[in-house]
Symmetry: C2
Subunit: 446 residues, 2 copies
Amino acid sequence: MGVEKFGPVRVGLLGIGTVGGGTFEVLWRNRQEITRRAGRRIEITQVADRDVDHARRIVADRARVLDDAAAVVADPAIDIVVELIGGTGVALKLVLAAIEAGKHVVTANKALLAMHGNEIFAAASRRGVMVAFEAAVAGGIPIIKALREGLSANRIESIAGIINGTTNFILSEMRDKGLAFDAVLAEAQRLGYAEADPTFDIEGVDAAHKATILAALAFGIPVQFDKCYVEGISTLQSTDIKFAEQLGYRIKLLAITRRRERGEGPHGIELRVHPTLIPARRLIANVEGAMNAVWVKGDAVGETMYYGKGAGAEPTASAVVADLIDVARVLTADPENRVPHLAFQAESISDLPILPMDDVETAYYLRMRVADEPGVLADLARILADGEISIDALLQREPGAGEDQTDIVLLTHVTFERRVNQAIARIEALPTVLSKVVRIRLEELA
Amino acid sequence: MGVEKFGPVRVGLLGIGTVGGGTFEVLWRNRQEITRRAGRRIEITQVADRDVDHARRIVADRARVLDDAAAVVADPAIDIVVELIGGTGVALKLVLAAIEAGKHVVTANKALLAMHGNEIFAAASRRGVMVAFEAAVAGGIPIIKALREGLSANRIESIAGIINGTTNFILSEMRDKGLAFDAVLAEAQRLGYAEADPTFDIEGVDAAHKATILAALAFGIPVQFDKCYVEGISTLQSTDIKFAEQLGYRIKLLAITRRRERGEGPHGIELRVHPTLIPARRLIANVEGAMNAVWVKGDAVGETMYYGKGAGAEPTASAVVADLIDVARVLTADPENRVPHLAFQAESISDLPILPMDDVETAYYLRMRVADEPGVLADLARILADGEISIDALLQREPGAGEDQTDIVLLTHVTFERRVNQAIARIEALPTVLSKVVRIRLEELA
C-alpha cells in the first residue's frame, strides 16, 4: 500500500479472552482503515494464552499461537506487548518484563495500574518505553486522552464519573422497576451485566481502581489506591431511590475526585466512590443502563462530559487498538517529548495529599425513622445547627392511620463529613429516633 | 524548572479579540500547570492586532505587540503561529505564509478550513509542518482529537452534532417558553448568545463549516463545503416544536454526516445540516441552551457522545492551548509519523462522493393544513404508498367548534428524500390540502 511509510509494527497479545478476542477481531477487520490512519500496518503476530486450543480457534492462521507469554515478551520480533490477562499477579510480572525488554506496553488492566502504576511507569520511563492504558477507564470512551491531551490547557477542578456499568445497570433497574437490590442483581447476572462473583463491581472496587487513575491524570499526583474511599451499592434501598426522586434527584454510583485548595479545612485531593444523589436534570443523571459517562470540569473549558460503553469486547478493543496506533506513531518521537504516562512530567508529580474522608466536603441526604411525637424536628434542627450544618430541604412522610412512626428525609448544604458523622451519632442517640440514619452523599455537579 | 527538557516554544498570536484574549490569559494563568504537562514552556512572545492599543491593554509587558501580522509570521524567532483573526481573506494569506515560512499553525477558523482546508493541509504537508485546529469545532470539547486519535480503531459510521450554540439556545428557549423564533432571537441578541448579524448561525452556515470538517476526519475524504446541504432554523415554527413534543421528540439543529455503503441507492457520504426531530429520551436531545454535543457511532466502540461549551473565550482557548501543547510535543517527532491533518494519510484520502440530498435516507415529520372532509387521509395514504413511504405515526387535531380545517401531522419511516419530495408535490396538489407541507427530517440516532 502506498500509505505505508514505515514497516509494520509487530504486536504480541497476551490473553485472548473477551477483550483480547475483540482486539484481535477489530484490528483485523479494520486493518485497511487503520493503515490509512496510522500510515503503517499494525499486526498481531503472536498470541499467548493458557488455553491454546481456544486461542487457535479465534486466531486460525493469522498469528502464531503459543502458551508461553514470557516467550512473547522476550521475543525481539515483538515491538509492542498488549497485556489483557488481568489481575495483579502474572500480569505485573509480564508487564515489567516487557518494559525491561524494551517493549512498549498497552494494557486494559485498571487494578494493575491503580495498585502498581507508580512502579510500572517509573520502570517505563527508565527504559524509554510507553505504557498506554486508554482501555483501563471507561472502555471505549477516550477519557484518558481527553484528560492528558484534550484538556491539557486546563487546571482540572473536578471529575465525577459513572465508570462501572454493572452498578449503573442495577441502579437504573431499581429505579425503573422499583425492585430491591438483590432481585436486580440476580437479573443482571442472568443477562450477563454482572459477574458470577460481582463483589468488585457492586462494592465499588472496580470504580475505585479507575477513579485512582483519573485522579492521578487530573491532578498530577501518584496513583494511590489505598487512599481511595470506597462504598458500594449493595446496601442501598429502593426507599431511598424513591425519596431521592421525589426531591428531584437520582442516585448513581459516582467516582469523584476534586482538587481543594481554597476555603477552610486542609488542602488536598478528594478521592471517593460512593452512591451519590445528583439533580435529575443534569445530563449525567440521565446516563442509564450499563453506559458510562465522565464529567470533567476545568478552569478554562468549564463543564465537559464523555459518554459511551464502558465495557464489552469491542468497545474495550476500540481503546486498546487506539493505543496501539498512538504507540506506533510515537515510535519515531523523542522519548523525552512524549505525552507523560500520568499526564504530567514524572519530575513534577505533586505531593498534594489525598484527604481523609473526615475532611471531604459534600452535601448529604439523611433518612431516619422517628416517633410521631412533637419536638422531634426541633431536636434534629438543634443538633444540625450545633454542628454548623444547614438544611436545604426536608421531607416528612405523614404517618398512616394508626401509625406512630414516620420517616424524615433531610438534605443538607455542603459541609464537612466529620461534622455530619458527629451529628449522626447524636441523632441516633435521641430516644425519638428509632433507626440508624441512612446517609447518602449528594453532589450538585454545578 | 526541573521539568523543562527543551527550550521554550515561542508563539506568535495573530488577533487578540475574544478568543485571542482568552488564549493569552489561559496560557499565562496556567503556565506552571502547562509546563508540568508539556515539559517545556510555551510562551506567546509576539501579538499582532490592528488595534494595537487594545492589544497592549491585554498584553501589558508580557509580549511584544505590533500591528503587522505578516512580520510576526516571517519572524525566525517564532515557532508556532496562532491564527485567531477569522474569515477567509487575510487569514488565508497569513496561514499560507506561515506554512511557507516553516511555522506550525494553530487556528480556530472553521470557515477557513471548510473552504480552503485541502490547499492549506497540502501546503503544510509539503513543508512538513502541522496545522492544528481543535478549536474549530465545538470549542473546548476535544472532538477533533477523539475522531483522529481516540476512535482511530473504528470504522466511523455516523456523526450527529449540536455544534452551534446560538441555534441550540434559540431552540431551547422556543420550546421552554413557547415563544416564536423572532422573539427568542431578539432575546438571544440581548443576552449576547447571538451576533448582531446572526445569519451565519441561524441559517446553519457555521454548523455546516464544522460538519464539513467532521466528515473529512471521520471518513477520510477531502473537505467539501460546497457539497454540504444547509438549512437553518429561521423558518421553524413553535407549532412544530409542540407537535414534535407530543410525539415524544425534540427539534435540534443537527449536523449529520454518515457513511452509506450498504443497501439500495448510491453509496457515499451524507453531509447535511438541518432542523431534526430526535427522540426526547436520547441524551443528546437533552443538551440545552448554548451547550454543544457531538454523538459519534463507530463499528467497534458503538455510541459515544462528547459534551461541553462550544464557544466563548476560555472554552475555545482551552482547545487552542491544547493544540499548542500537542504541537510542542510533535516538534521532535518524525514529520512523516504524525497524526495526519484529516485523520487519514494524505495519500489515502478517499474519493467516496458526498451524496446529493435526493439520495439521502432519513425519516420525516410532515405537517399540513387540510379541509375537515372525509377522504383526506385516504388520499394522503395513497400518495405515500405510491411513493413506497411508510407511515410510523399520525396525529390529527380535532377541529374546534365551527372550524372546517384541521392539522395533520405524519411521521414516516426512513426513506429517500427524493421520494418524499415527490410525495409532497402530489400532496400539495390535492384540493383538500390547504397549506404548504411543513417538512422536518427525523433521526432516531439508535
